[in-house]
């Protein structure tokens, strides 16, 4: 049985993975179907009915916000956007990190030293500052948000991948392939990459919550997703202002956000057990 097969079997037996994986999938499904099935849409304002509490009568199950818009549909949209941002941003940092780390690990020697020194210096630089500058300079472009957040997280990934690649490089099958004349790129694709999946998956589930939090920070500062689009972070930020007179505006998006973050964190823990990944230096 291949390594992948083994991992899959162990994953299936873990309760955390089943529950959390199921929960997340369920949320995504509801988030996609909800707006389609609901009679309300996320844009429709109704100034006669602002800040109405949730009620089954009239079909506003999550209540209305300060412009009279249906909170259920907006929350679902928020989930969609939040998940999208998180996944795309993490994928960006994944790609950059893996490529960078793999090259550094494989090349070794001085190239590796220079590349990792670069990472070390960048490591503690105030990336949040650069992200803010990016958002200000290029005007909160929807695509830019993904790139900006992704760029914040690639360093961790690069370090991990480089460490793994270094150890993998010494293994026999890699050395055999190199001797056999397989190209640099070939080695990466066919031998290194599949063995990275474990580590990468775990870290992916950990960078996604980080990406979500950075996006909500940006929304709080007014630099994130712009109206009429919305994300869970934006909804929570708006809800904070109505904590006392319309608590559902805060509680519902905050609960959904917390749920998603919790699921990813638990998932990460469980996957770490499955792939047997230790705390890498």
């Amino acid at each position: 049985m291949s390594a992948l097969g083994r991992f899959w079997r162990r994953a299936r037996r873990s309760r955390s993975i089943l529950y959390c994986g199921g929960m997340l999938t369920g949320l995504v499904v509801v988030a996609l179907l909800g707006p389609v099935l609901s009679p309300h849409n996320y844009l429709q304002t109704d100034f006669d009915n602002i800040l109405r509490a949730p009620s089954l009568v009239g079909g506003h199950v999550f209540g209305r916000d300060d412009l009279g818009r249906d909170l259920f549909v907006r929350s679902m949209l928020g989930i969609q956007v939040t998940m999208l941002v998180a996944i795309v941003a993490s994928t960006v940092s994944l790609i950059i990190g893996v490529v960078y780390g793999a090259i550094a690990g494989l090349a070794g020697g001085r190239v590796d030293a220079v590349m990792m020194r670069f990472v070390d210096t960048l490591y503690a630089l105030p990336f949040i500052f650069f992200v803010i500058l990016l958002m200000v300079a290029f005007e909160r472009n929807f695509i830019l948000i993904f790139v900006a957040i992704g760029a914040v997280n690639w360093l961790d990934m690069a370090r991990i991948v480089r460490g793994q690649t270094l150890s993998l490089r010494e293994r026999e099958f890699v050395q055999a392939a190199a001797l056999g004349g397989v190209s640099f790129a070939g080695i990466i694709l066919r031998h290194i990459a599949p063995n990275l999946i474990g580590v990468v998956t775990v870290y992916l589930t950990l960078t996604i919550p980080q990406a979500i939090l950075v996006e909500s920070f940006l929304s709080f500062l007014g630099l994130g997703i712009q109206e009429p689009q919305t994300s869970l972070g934006t909804l929570v930020d708006a809800g904070v202002n109505h904590m006392e007179n319309a608590a559902w505006m805060l509680l519902i998006p905050a609960a959904l956000l917390a749920l998603i973050l919790l699921c990813f964190n638990f998932l990460g823990d469980a996957l770490r057990d499955v792939f047997d990944v230790r705390q890498a230096r």
Binding site: T121, A124, F127, I132, F217, L221
Partner: protein, 307 residues
């Protein structure tokens, strides 16, 4: 040793320069200028101001001018605060951000390690589950939700603590911001410590110590704590970065005039020099700190000195 330090410093210059160039370009790329306002300026006044701040010169020239000032230690005048220089502003804001961050770090480490150790010692008990549940909550709820809730509860309704920063100079005004900032880190560190401590407690030499009849507290203090702290130590770097990110939000919420708040306001107001100054200052600080830490390790551990 000295040669090593000098080499490192020299090696850091290209990185620093890269940072400055990037920041400079991004700040100037932002549409709108520092002196735009609804009340538009008459042409001659605009010309006067542009001349006074050298904004009418081509960009490369402005850049060179900035670098030459930098070398002399002059970070330039603030565009937004016409009476103050960037050095004035950073000099006032940095000690504050430092205090805030340091206290949050301290709180996070002490409580985090303590809670994690406790949870590990009572593994799978109710206490353990409760502590870990709280930790999970700490990670999952953003600070800009926790902080306003705390303010509303403790400052506005119960009036136990000051609601804002500027209202008093008493130490009590640090409590809410530091706690808000520390909360997510307490959670991370607690989880980290617990996992690591569980591993360590299961190892052979701990079993030996127990067989020797040492009490739990003694074992933890003398034998288990140090090795278990390794992951926490490696987390210090990311923790500091996380606290910096969080401080931007916390400073905004509580109105604390720290570096984070100055930066955000500066970026939104197009205060070019202030923004650049903060980026440069912070980058230089970090590079210097890294160097100092490495040198310290070299001093402490002779094995490293041979590099």
């Amino acid at each position: 040793m000295l040669r090593y330090a000098l080499l490192r410093l020299l090696g850091a210059i290209p990185t620093l320069l890269l940072v400055i160039v990037l920041a400079f370009l991004m700040v100037h790329a932002a549409p709108g200028g520092p002196f735009d306002d609804e009340r538009a300026l008459p042409a001659e006044i605009e010309a006067n101001i542009a001349a006074a701040y050298q904004l009418d010169q081509p960009l490369p020239q402005q850049f060179l001018r900035y670098i030459s000032g930098l070398v002399r230690g002059d970070l330039g005048p603030s565009y937004r605060y016409r009476d103050l220089t960037v050095s004035d502003l950073i000099g006032g804001a940095f000690p504050l951000s430092l205090k805030l961050g340091a206290m949050a770090m301290l709180l996070a480490t002490v409580i985090g390690v303590g809670a994690g150790t406790l949870a590990a010692l009572r593994q799978n008990s109710l206490l353990d589950r409760a502590l870990m549940a709280m930790a999970m909550t700490g990670i999952s709820i953003p600070v800009f939700v926790i902080a306003p809730v705390l303010v509303l509860l403790l400052a506005v309704h119960l009036q136990w603590l000051p609601a804002g920063w500027s209202g008093t100079s008493a130490g009590g005004r640090f409590v809410l911001p530091v706690v808000s900032l520390a909360l997510p880190q307490i959670a991370y560190i607690a989880r980290l410590t617990r996992a690591s401590m569980i591993d360590v407690l299961a190892s052979d030499f701990i079993r030996t110590a127990r067989a020797q009849g040492l009490g739990t507290f003694t074992i933890v203090r003398l034998h288990a704590l140090k090795p278990a702290m390794l992951p926490v130590l490696s987390y210090m770097g990311p923790a500091i970065a996380a606290i910096l990110t969080g401080s931007v939000v916390v400073e905004e919420i509580f109105g604390i005039p720290g570096l984070g708040q100055h930066f955000v306001r500066g970026a939104l107001n197009r205060d070019y020099t202030l923004v650049l100054g903060i980026v440069v200052f912070y980058a230089a600080l970090v590079i210097l700190l890294n160097l100092v830490v490495d040198l310290l390790y070299g001093v402490i551990d002779p094995r490293i000195r041979q590099r």
